[in-house]
């Protein structure tokens, strides 16, 4: 198919339009620069950069990654350069490369989220923020907060109020009984979209030592093994809210991506599978350009 006959696969999330519905997930593509020699990131809908926190974080002791037959467990622990370095060094580079950026942020208190939003409000070079309320690899209360609808609503409102013309997404945890109620809270707080899911809590043990493979014990499970769970959660979310959903979790093929749209998503993010298949994101873009009808949200009626 020639450049000219490409169909329109743009996707709107709140006040912002993205060129297509395929993104790289937070934590996978660092701050964008690392993958630029290997792929045309500009051609994707965008990237969600590694979650940043108000101050730099050292992260968890290694080992941090563990392969299992159905995916991977990780225990990165939100290592990141911190807000200031991100704004000073990382964001300008991305803007220069014309990569559409969603900034992932996490913090412990609503005040911190507010001050992050305040920092970003006057800035250029990014199209949205994703509030990561769902990282399983940290000690802090952020995860518990992410399970508390009242907190989620308040937090979202505070951030959205400052970032009126940006896409504000809330990334929610699957490790919760009723994901719909958390999503509804985000919507009530003014979120422009929901990102689901983050990794699933999991653990593996090293039989040689009789200990968990990670220093911190449990880790985050990602990759093909979580696909049916991610589809389930996105489907639940789509019945709970009417804002757009970014479907995330276990996508390793074009068909996997399509299933998220059937489940009710309006866009997808690629995580773990990028490690083995660097062409996957672009392949999904191309195939959706050829079949824009696949973007129809929700169950196809037969």
């Amino acid at each position: 198919m020639s450049e000219h006959s490409k169909t329109d696969v743009r996707v709107r999330i709140g006040p912002v339009e993205f060129k297509n519905p395929v993104f790289l997930a937070s934590g996978i593509c660092g701050y964008g620069e690392e993958y630029s020699p290997l792929m045309d990131i500009q051609k994707l809908g965008g990237i969600v950069t590694k979650t940043i926190t108000p101050r730099p974080r050292k992260g968890n002791p290694p080992p941090r990654i563990h392969e299992i037959p159905t995916g991977a467990l990780n225990s990165i622990g939100l290592e990141n350069v911190g807000l200031d370095a991100y704004v000073a060094e990382k964001l300008p580079k991305l803007a220069k490369e014309k990569i559409d950026v969603i900034v992932s942020v996490a913090a412990e208190h609503i005040e911190e989220f507010d001050s992050i939003a305040e920092t970003f409000a006057p800035l250029d070079g990014y199209k949205g923020v994703e509030l990561n309320l769902s990282c399983p690899n940290v000690e802090e209360k952020a995860l518990d907060h992410g399970r508390n609808p009242a907190f989620v609503e308040k937090l979202t409102r505070v951030v959205k109020n400052r970032l009126v013309d940006k896409a504000v997404l809330v990334k929610i945890t699957p490790n919760v009984t009723d994901i719909g109620s958390v999503a509804r809270a985000a919507e009530a707080g003014g979120a422009d979209g929901i990102s689901a899911i983050n990794t699933v809590l999991g653990v593996d043990f090293d039989l040689a030592t009789g200990k968990p493979v990670f220093f911190r014990g449990s880790g985050g499970y990602s990759g093909p093994g979580i696909l049916p769970i991610a589809l389930q959660k996105v489907w639940e979310v789509s019945r709970a809210v009417s804002i757009p959903i970014m479907g995330i979790g276990g996508i390793s093929s074009v068909d996997d991506a399509r299933k998220f749209f059937v489940a009710g998503a309006s866009a997808v993010q690629i995580g773990t599978s990028l490690w083995q298949d660097l062409e996957l994101p672009q392949r999904i873009v191309s195939e959706f350009e050829q079949h824009p009808e696949w973007m129809k949200k929700g169950e196809v009626k037969t």
């Binding site: 593509c29 290694p62 392969e67 991977a72």
Partner: protein
């Protein structure tokens, strides 16, 4: 102890993603084998110490690529020296010649050029690969003199009959004394440094060997470049999976083996916090 001396390591260059053909697969011993694959024209000239991140070709069953140091690279080929460790390296040993191999590289930092200096390189097991590669290139005046000590369990792991050792000034050590120096390669390094001093030590191999070498190099006041291993995911510095603890001017932080390393100044590594791999 004479003291800690630092050395600067050349940083990594932007890698590429390639598909190339497995040209030759040769068993060198019970556990070791050689993979020779075609060199894609666009594959950058790799520094010794850099590695490729290789997808085990098994229908997507392995989620993580496997990192392997480059053993050799000429215009037409890239060679890897691999030891069978787990399922991935077992399957790689079984794939037929002609198979397409998907990899990214060259990745990571290199052992530094040391023009006019003498280098003592100490390799244990598959840690040989980057040091051997350096050795085959040392003729290009990367350094004045390059002595390579290679330690293995037993004579079989020296694959004297199945491999053309084309590095000058190599000496062998075997744990069981079946060939060359009888004992640990670090003991041999100790003797060598006594016999003829070196300006820098390069090393790659099992962590206990590296730790012993750190002590040795420190006690002789010789700078020491080490190549480390760690579990990797992205291979390009994006995911922060492969970090090792470093301490620089008293400040502790993590560096990635895939991008900041694998070759590090041994003095910045916090050895007692290194992960088991």
């Amino acid at each position: 102890m004479i003291g800690n001396t630092h050395v600067t390591v050349p940083g990594s260059v932007p890698p590429g993603r390639f598909s190339s053909k497995l040209l030759e697969k040769r068993d060198l011993s019970d556990r070791y084998y050689l993979l020779v694959m075609s060199r894609p024209p666009a594959f950058d000239d790799p520094g010794p110490g850099t590695f490729v991140h290789l997808l085990v070709p098994d229908g997507g069953r392995f989620f993580l690529r496997r990192p392997f140091s480059i053993l050799g690279c000429d215009e037409a080929t890239i060679s890897l020296l691999i030891v069978e460790k787990g399922t991935g390296t077992q399957i790689l040993r079984r794939i037929p010649e002609g198979t397409e191999l998907d990899f990214i590289g060259p990745l990571g930092s290199s052992f530094p050029q040391m023009p006019g200096r003498t280098v003592l390189a100490v390799g244990g097991g598959v840690g040989l690969a980057p040091l051997y590669f350096y050795g085959t290139r040392a003729v290009r005046d990367d350094c004045d003199r390059y002595r390579l000590l290679y330690g293995a369990r037993t004579r079989d792991d020296l694959f004297l009959d199945s491999f053309e050792w084309s590095v000058e000034g190599i000496a062998f050590a075997t744990d069981d004394g079946s060939y060359g120096f009888s004992g640990n390669v670090v003991e041999l390094a100790d003797e060598e440094l006594t016999r003829a001093p070196a300006d820098v030590v390069f090393s790659c191999g099992p962590t206990p060997m590296l730790e012993a070498l750190v002590e040795l190099a420190r006690s002789r006041g010789v700078p020491h470049c080490v190549s480390l291993e760690n579990r990797m995911a992205c291979g390009v510095g994006a995911c922060r999976s492969c970090v090792v603890p470093v301490s620089i001017d008293g400040a502790e932080s993590y560096r990635t083996v895939c991008k900041d390393g694998p070759v590090f100044d041994a003095e910045i590594i916090v050895w007692n916090e290194l992960p088991r791999v």
